[in-house]
Symmetry: C2
Subunit: 567 residues, 2 copies
């Protein structure tokens, strides 16, 4: 590391800024080519930073003269000059060939197809005749897109019917275009891929939410998709990136289609907005990973996994040059929010001015924490006059509502009396929980779906109460597969409940039910509390205070008894 | 936030560098006074940074001319000039009065005493006669210390007996001195305190390990101290800082004495090496907290708590100018290690060149992860010729040994046959566990101490197996107070074990035992696995694979049976 190559960076916007911040942590020498005072230039002092445009041959040559390796924060660069300087011995990562293919989005799609990577069908459009043929082949609606220089919705036009054709050509017609088949998708997914000298590694599958064609939110991990879909997206992203030569981080945006298949929307040969969450949520950020990959420094695979779930919210320019600051100010009031401002000064409406990441032990907690910021964001965006946004959505989660982490379910309404003390203990310990009635025999489908979906909803322990045949705890344990289930036998009007107790303890090998005593709802609650307390130090303190009270009471009884005996 | 005061920073070393990095995240305008290319100046570009010394009146005046508020990364500044510019309307945070008192360590101690903050007894020493009187009053050994400009062990001299007196005076004699009573301490603790306009908040109590009088390691939270001691240290640190005017972050170093009382060693009126762990481990770092405090921006109290335990290791200069790089390179190979290099170029032996922080879900995991780096650090430090360090300690933890998170304990040796399948399942799921025999009746003291200490050792679930009277699970649950206990009844040679099972489920309200079926060691293991899996996504995948195998086997049996029936 005392002899690192000198890195030159084409582009000094927010992506470059965050790359420079990571370079600072490791004393990696890096020079930036962009306009004076560009965001990346503000966060280091390098006398050989180059002023100019990353799209100008002369400026790139000047940067290359002082560097051993060039990399990019943007794909809209002049690849001819990159090719030229590479012949002069300067390394380019990722390869200029990769950037050249990717910057032409139609070429990118063709390249993916040649490499058997699923992506929407597309045809070249050079004139109205081509567009009409494309409409016949692809049907309506379709997307008409510029092949180059298109980002954040610019250069895209939706063609809904024949009557839109002329408008589409008029709005985009001076550039090379292509038409793309319209895909119905459930949600948009993204995966950051790290290509090192040894192969490709992936960050987790995240969900991106766009508004007005600009990324608004990123959920890491993606919400409400199965493990299989999440893995399929990672595999697809990896295969897509493996089709391109060169090292570094790539962003792969994907559609999750209605039939649960995944297809590639587009690839960025660089760090990407959908990977900002990695700064706080992963062992190493996408920015650190990019620098390590291009410099052949180690990238431990485990470092790319989520340490904590996260939600990222972009700070976009509002109606006035400084209105976006309101969002940053609100973020400072939230304990779990980290704010990154990009040093861009006054905002244009819709411009990316910064971002906020909230991390939490579960995604639901992170979602809940970021709710007030999304509200502020929506209010600010709806003040804009330059665009029409849909009316503000109702809040995702009412504030003040806690995400339950313990689920208490009973076989019947008649169990509620016994369960009251369980609810009281959980409330007293300030553990968020939910109450359900899901009968193994009367509502088996509900019971099964409740148990299957609980883990994804953030439930960490299930308490299942049942009397008689008392199948509920065992069935919930079977359907949930991974959640620990505390079984609470309920005493029937006839008999002592031992039969229910034994039907819980006698579960076959493979599917445990953790059984407490008959009607001992207090212990069911305390056992569940102990479980979650092992990962929550504040709850541990409250549990200890709880047992301290019981101890004091017991000691006090002893004292009174002695006092009585001695009187 | 669009109208923040212009901040001027006296000193641009590593502390200033990390302050500037946080200022960058919020676009806080900050100007640095230090030599050209000082660490803090490398990580931003500010045309009005001042070249010179923070101890020179002219340079400070120049900085103050361009700023609304001055703050410090070092206390060895000229407080007369700070007083002067404050009269000119520039705010100083913390107050120049605070810095003036603290920079004279004897005055600092007197000030603490006047404010009833516990600290070691001290007397002024101006000459040999004073020192002899001090030795009579304080006894041997004693510490002779310079009142000013002392740090990292410089300016301190241990006086072990009368024969050391002359040496001590000779080595320190040209400066104002004081003698301090020698304190026997168990360990050194530290707490970072944030003083805002609304009051003082504290970060958690951490443990610092010094070597050769320089901070080597910081453990957050402190290891092996009770909750009460940890809280007492936070309370003491808070009271100590409340005795000084001004806003900002303060570092409070303390001794934990043999009698478990805590006393203040010294206070730094600034961010501190013992708070570096906050960058990764807390909601907001000490550097962000300092900027927020002096600028009256919000500091949510919850943001100061640990999100994850952490261990910090300093990267110190080694025998050659670049040998410390070896440690940084090793850190890049570890998934959980974050490396911060300070941009100081070539190292002097012992100089702070950077630091590494490892975070993990438990402190033991963090300790284990950082072990190889401590080894590398020790090897590098022992190559130095300028100091004598004690021989390298044996590794804290043998590498390859996993920290157990499940404890399996049985009442007797005869239970081991049944427990074998429990061990097999845990091993198969790659969950680190330990096996113990702690009998409630034969080794009650061992049983009690095992249960009481398990939480601090990182155990998340206890499995307790017992037959007959089967008191072990209940007693372990009582002594551990917070750990979930899975009770496994063991079938005796006579009888079916139901008596043991009932003695576990019949635990009184307040102390739950989570009971599985008689001899069902597989379910005891799987239940414990489900518990820890809720906080470990990779283990969840393995558990699902495990249940998938059982499902496949069951389906296969069905297929075979049908095939047989049809043939």
């Amino acid at each position: 590391m005392d002899d690192l190559p000198r890195v030159g960076l084409l582009g000094g916007g927010q992506l470059g800024r965050m790359l420079v911040e990571e370079a600072n942590h490791l004393n990696i020498p890096i020079q930036v080519l962009d306009t004076p005072n560009a965001p990346a230039k503000q966060v280091h002092y390098h006398p050989k930073d180059v002023n100019g445009s990353f799209a100008t041959a002369e400026a790139v040559r000047q940067l290359a003269d002082e560097c051993d390796l060039l990399t990019v924060e943007i794909e809209h660069v002049d690849t001819d000059i990159l090719e030229e300087v590479s012949h002069g011995g300067v390394k380019i990562e990722p390869s200029w060939r990769t950037i050249r293919i990717i910057q032409d989005k139609f070429e990118q799609k063709q390249h993916l197809k040649r490499n058997h990577v699923l992506t929407a069908e597309a045809v070249v459009v050079n004139n109205m005749h081509d567009l009409e043929s494309a409409a016949k082949a692809l049907g309506y609606p379709l997307m008409l897109k510029a092949r180059r220089q298109a980002y954040d919705g610019r250069g895209n036009h939706v063609v809904r019917s024949e009557s839109d054709l002329q408008d589409a050509m008029t709005s985009l017609g001076t550039r090379g275009l292509y038409a793309e088949r319209w895909m119905n998708f459930k949600k948009e997914l993204a995966v950051m891929v790290v290509k090192t000298k040894d192969g490709a590694l992936t960050y987790p599958t995240v969900e991106t939410v766009q508004e007005n064609s600009i990324c608004k939110l990123v959920y890491a991990p993606a919400r409400g998709i199965s493990r299989e879909v999440a893995q399929a997206a990672r595999d697809l992203a990896k295969r897509a990136v493996q089709a391109f030569p060169g090292k570094g981080v790539f962003g792969v945006e994907m559609f999750l289609l209605d039939d649960d298949t995944v297809q590639v929307l587009e690839i960025a040969p660089r760090v990407h907005n959908s990977g900002h969450y990695t700064i706080e949520a992963c062992g190493i950020s996408q920015f650190a990973a990019h620098l390590r990959a291009i410099l052949d420094l180690p990238v431990p695979e485990e470092s790319l996994e989520l340490e904590q779930p996260a939600v990222m919210l972009n700070i976009l320019g509002g109606a006035t040059p400084w209105s976006h600051q309101t969002l940053a100010e609100r973020a400072l009031e939230l304990p779990k929010a980290r704010c990154h401002l990009y040093g861009k000064g006054e905002a244009r409406p819709g411009r990316k001015m910064g971002h906020i990441t909230v991390t939490a032990p579960s995604l639901l907690e992170a979602e809940r924490a970021i709710c007030p910021l999304i509200e502020t964001c929506d209010t600010l965006q709806r003040e804009r006059k330059d665009i029409d946004l849909p009316p503000q959505l109702p809040q995702l989660m009412p504030s003040g509502t806690e995400i339950p982490i313990i689920g208490v379910t009973a076989g019947s309404q008649s169990d509620q009396n016994v369960l009251q003390t369980c609810y009281d203990v959980l409330s007293g310990l300030r553990i968020p929980f939910e109450r359900r009635i899901t009968s193994a025999h009367r509502s088996p489908e509900l019971m099964a779906s409740y148990a299957k979906e609980a883990e994804a909803r953030g439930i960490k322990v299930l308490i299942a109460a049942a009397g008689g045949a008392a199948h509920l705890p065992g069935m919930v344990a079977a359907f949930s597969r991974v959640i620990p289930v505390v079984g609470l036998p309920i005493k029937p009007s006839l008999g002592d409940g031992t039969d229910s107790l034994l039907s819980m303890t006698n579960m076959p090998r493979g599917t445990p039910v953790l059984t407490v005593g008959v009607n001992n709802a207090v212990n069911a609650a305390l056992a569940a509390a102990r479980i979650v307390a092992m990962w929550d130090s504040e709850l541990r303190e409250r549990l200890i205070a709880y047992s301290g009270e019981a101890e004091n009471e017991s000691r006090e009884n002893d004292r009174k008894l002695q006092a009585k005996g001695n009187s």
